[in-house]
Amino acid sequence: MITLNLIEKNQLGKIVAIDTDLLPLKLIEMGCLPGNEVYLEQLAPLKDPMYLVIDGCHLAIRTETAKNIKIELI
């Protein structure tokens, strides 16, 4: 199990746990929920922010936010 900020290109992850207190509700509502699949589409320079596809939803978050999401590589 790793945190989402460590995911690399061409890896597929599955969200296993999220820190509800630290994540914005908006992100949860966009599909960032345990059980959903996630992969990295692109990184901005200096690896931040991260352009991710979570459960089919294309969005960008900062690495500090991604640290609060635990994933499992599959």
Binding site: D21, E29, L46
Partner: protein, 698 residues
């Protein structure tokens, strides 16, 4: 008898909600503000058949009913307030075929409010390209609603949508989800305390900071059941609610919505690989900006020259054809000159709005946010500050409002404070006229000096915004939770209709708003310039004629002498003269001083003011530019020479001469503290930089 039904359009951002609104209403729309807040309120009307009209409200885009910004609160406040005159008879949830799952989250929430709800699935034109197939009948049953599958791009399904609206009474009011399943103990208790209330509405009142029903809210807070729940617990319940909703949605879509990946083409990833490439992405962005500035300068010059000449002809025509007198003078010298000073800039402003609308419509703006976030964070800004900073090139007022998407308060405050440094369209008239007066024509690497100067001024504005943001970031000690979420929508070709309506509406409101102020100020200025106290003004003829050397003057010279003596001793002359000592070190004379004062109402008044001042008592009808060119200093040299021109441009670049910006900053920061700090520091920076530059150049 004709009857009207209220329709509310609700949907996630990027679903084409505004396209649906435009398709239904065309130009029958009105943009205003919600009372007391600065959220834009768009409403329009649409004839459904010969007896029924729909009054349509386009609510701000939102991902869910759990509001995280003022714009989103508007949605929930309207939907929870049955007494609001706009309370919808039918709620229309707009979704996008590709993001149906996520869009349905909001749909299930709206449905649980037990209002008749219609689901619109937009962008049906993309189904084939993405290999999507949809069983509408079955999905309608599962979601207990009527579905209108439409394509605003191909103009399909709009008529069907209208028939669905007419038939709104047959829509089911049944909710989607049994909310007690989230936490039976908690919601069971809540129901016991408020037996006759809808549980979901209560839940929204508890979790949201909406001010629609203070009494209900207070009642809820008094209940002991609520007090025992911490915010963290409530948030966990909200998360559970979201999970339950997605389970319901997945269940509904399982057999009805299928994607054949082999048929799907994915040009989003391909385009993203180039457009947000870590090197090429920035180059492309810079080239786009460069093109925009070049176009604004080059393409607009033809219609602008035409407008300028037309107005001077109109003024001349008025003077020759109306009976001479005070009213004719007021019309020709005050009103027409003043209005000409604003209408001339319509082409440029329209082009600017056009480019901003296209950048937003295509989905490119989100990529710029992504590219810029890391770099801007160094200055205490967010990637999302890019949108205010870019739309600040049109006007600081919508730009300050656009900061609402920034989740972090410190980043948002800094963005608000530095946005007025961005060159807004009101500065454009001032720059353009000064550039054409003091910067020589000529080319450097294919770009004209004048175009380069304009671009330099824009860059200077951005640089100053960044520099002050960096300083503020060091000074301000504000701790606030930081997060940043932005959707990267699919790329779309902009819809011509949407872009044109946006450009038309924005340009219209710019001209009307600015026009009103300019009209009032032109009249006031003309009055102040046409009258004066004391005998210096009223007996100007006698004083000049009584002077020596007057015999050698021609009749025309004599008249000019009298006119300028009058102006100098009119009310406005006295006012201008009294501030002259302060601005003389910047290279400005008292006439420019008047323009500076009147610019505080709005910067673009500058040109109109000078046009009015110079045309008072001047019978030769000339274009504004020629009149300014003819102005001389006391020693006979040109008034608008390079040092004065540059110093004036710098002053306008940095000074906060805009009452409306101050008002909006006050609203958005809840007090006078920040706008006052902003006003004083920006004026100081403007004064000092103009002073230094003038003293060096002169």
């Amino acid at each position: 008898m004709s009857k009207t039904i209220n329709v509310a359009l609700i949907g996630n951002p990027n679903t084409g909600k505004t396209s649906v609104f435009n398709a239904l209403t065309g130009l029958n729309q009105k943009v205003g503000n919600y009372p007391g807040i600065t959220v834009e309120k768009k409403q329009g009307s649409c004839r459904l058949n010969h007896t029924t009209k729909a009054h349509i409200i386009d609510l701000p885009g939102t991902y869910s009913l759990n509001a995280s910004s003022m714009d989103e609160s508007v949605v929930i406040e309207l939907l929870l307030n049955k007494n609001d005159k706009d309370y919808p008879d039918v709620a229309v949830v707009i979704s996008d075929i590709e993001n149906l799952k996520r869009n349905l989250l909001l749909f299930t929430q709206i449905k649980d409010l037990e209002t008749p709800t219609l689901l619109v699935i937009n962008m049906s034109d993309r189904m084939a390209g993405k290999g999507i197939s949809l069983d509408i009948d079955q999905l309608e049953q599962k979601l207990k609603t009527k579905i209108a599958l439409i394509s605003t791009r191909e103009n399909k399904g709009i008529e069907f949508l209208k028939t669905c609206l007419l038939d709104y009474r047959s829509l089911s009011k049944e909710g989607c989800m049994d909310i007690t399943k989230i936490d039976e103990a908690y919601f069971g208790n809540l129901q016991k305390v408020f037996p006759d209330q809808s549980l979901y509405k209560l839940w929204l009142v508890i979790t949201q900071d909406v001010n629609f029903a203070k009494i209900e809210r207070k009642k809820v807070q008094d209940a002991t059941e609520y007090k025992t729940q911490s915010i963290s617990h409530l948030k966990r319940l909200q998360q559970k609610e979201t999970i339950k909703r997605y389970q319901y949605i997945n269940q509904s879509l399982k057999e009805t919505y299928t994607v054949d990946q082999s048929k799907a083409t994915d040009y989003r990833s391909k385009l993203d690989r180039i457009l947000i490439h870590r090197f090429w992405g920035y180059i492309i962005f810079f080239v786009i900006l460069l093109t925009i500035f070049q176009v604004i300068f080059d393409w607009s010059s033809i219609p602008m020259d035409f407008i300028d000449e037309s107005f001077s002809k109109l003024s001349e025509y008025t003077k020759t054809n109306l009976p001479p007198g005070l009213f004719t003078n007021l019309l020709a010298e005050g009103i027409i000159s003043g209005l000409g000073g604003i209408i001339i800039f319509i082409p440029q402003i329209a082009f600017l709005f056009l480019f901003i609308a296209v950048l937003e419509e295509t989905g490119y703006m989100s990529r710029v946010v992504f590219l810029m976030d890391r770099g801007l964070r160094k200055y205490g800004l967010s990637g999302k500050s890019v949108i205010p900073l870019i739309s600040g090139t049109a006007c600081a007022i919508p730009a300050v409002m656009a900061t609402r998407n920034i989740e972090n308060w410190k980043e948002r405050l800094i963005t608000i404070l530095v946005t007025p440094f961005i060159t807004c369209s009101a500065r454009l008239p001032v720059y353009l006229i000064l550039i054409s007066l003091v910067i020589p024509e000529g080319k450097f690497l294919g770009m004209g000096y004048q175009g380069l100067t304009l671009m330099g001024l824009y860059l200077l504005g951005f640089a100053m915004a960044l520099l002050s943001a960096g300083i503020l970031n060091k000074i301000l000690k504000i701790q606030s939770k930081t997060y940043f979420v932005i959707e990267m929508p699919n790329y779309k070709l902009p819809l011509l209709k949407n872009v044109l309506i946006t450009v038309f509406e924005k340009t219209k409101s710019f001209v009307v708003e600015a026009g009103r102020i300019i009209l009032a100020i032109s009249i006031l200025l003309w009055l102040m310039a046409s009258f004066g106290p004391g005998k210096e003004f009223n007996q100007a003829e006698e004083i000049i004629i009584g002077r020596a050397k007057v015999e050698s003057f021609t009749a025309e010279q004599l008249e000019n002498e009298i006119a300028s003596h009058k102006l100098e001793h009119s009310f406005i002359g006295i006012l201008g003269k009294s501030i002259e000592p302060v601005i003389a070190p910047l290279g400005f004379d008292w006439k420019i001083g008047i323009a500076l004062i009147s610019s505080f109402a709005a910067r673009e008044v500058f040109v109109g003011t000078l046009a009015t001042i110079y045309s008072v008592g001047n019978d030769q009808e000339e274009t504004i530019k020629n009149r300014m060119k003819a102005e001389r200093k006391a020693d006979g040299s040109l008034l608008f020479d390079l040092p004065t021109g540059i110093s004036l441009m710098l002053f306008y670049a940095f000074a906060l001469q805009c009452m409306s910006t101050l008002a909006i900053v006050k609203k958005e920061t809840n007090g006078w503290k920040w706008p006052m700090i902003q006003l004083f520091s920006m004026t100081l920076i403007a004064y000092l930089s103009a002073l230094i530059v003038y003293q060096i150049l002169a």
